[in-house]
Subunit: 139 residues, 2 copies
DNA sequence: GTTGTTGCAAAGAATTTGCAACATA
DNA sequence: TATGTTGCAAATTCTTTGCAACAAC
């Protein structure tokens, strides 16, 4: 398969490939943990890749709208993480904020059956598991 | 079964039964929709039951801590709703904010199996379905 | 009477918006 | 060059805190 080029991913999302957006998206690549706009801004600044806080907010929001990121409410903040295209669920480590994606046929079946039983038209669902990942639990 | 008296419920939660807290908890009873602190404050004020906004925030927070309320992130806000004692999931109507509780053995089993397969120590999980309830869909 | 509670005003914190300078296509 | 983007400062919005008056037990 072809390497996913950051600038192409941005253009696919209908966004111009600016230095700032490329920086943000690259910073998200290969990261297992979800991160907030504030934290990411701090990291970029520390790494000498200055991007305005406003731009970080706007970029994360655009990428999430485009379906490239999942958003996780954490305290009063939104944390973001790159995600796959298809529907999935999450295993969220509360110690390191690592997020693993999982697919779950049984959950999809459950959603369908509950909804049809109740005359509920489903627009979405979320099934996330919180806890401590094996790495953190080992400590 | 005994009627649940509001003041008793408050005392069970370790809170003094003040007029304000009784008012808030009573306003939550029999309500199918989740409501935010701001909205509830406005409603109480309109109903001539003045309770300070700060107190509404504090009361909702205490009740949620005591396990009497479920919290739902909605846009940038927290919405609350009375909930049952035992573990459950939700069917959330995005049109009227109504929340129905559902139990789901299959979800519990799924959580256990995923966690054990991955060496993940579970502290909690959440499985909510979003959509439009039968009442709203009929409109 | 003690101790927890209220509510105002002020502080805090996350996020959004206006707008002029600027970069991308 | 035309249009989208940036980033600062300022504004918004939700939520929390300090503190003196007050109410529950």
């Amino acid at each position: 398969m072809a390497e996913t080029v950051t600038s192409d991913a941005l253009r696919d999302a209908g966004l111009r490939a600016t230095r700032q957006r490329t920086t943000v998206l690259d910073a998200l690549r290969g990261r297992a943990e979800a991160i907030t706009a504030q934290d990411l801004h701090g990291e970029l600044r520390a790494a000498g890749e200055p991007v305005g806080l406003t731009t970080v907010y706007r970029t994360l929001s655009s990428l999430a709208d485009a379906g490239l990121l999942d958003a996780f409410p954490r305290d009063g903040e939104q944390a973001f993480r790159l995600c796959s295209d298809d529907h999935h669920h999450h295993l969220i480590c509360e110690a390191c904020n690592r997020v693993d994606e999982i697919t779950a046929e049984e959950v999809e079946r459950w959603v369908d059956s509950v909804a049809s039983r109740r005359g509920f038209r489903v627009t979405g669902h979320r099934a996330d598991v919180f806890g401590v990942c094996s790495d953190c639990g080992r400590a």
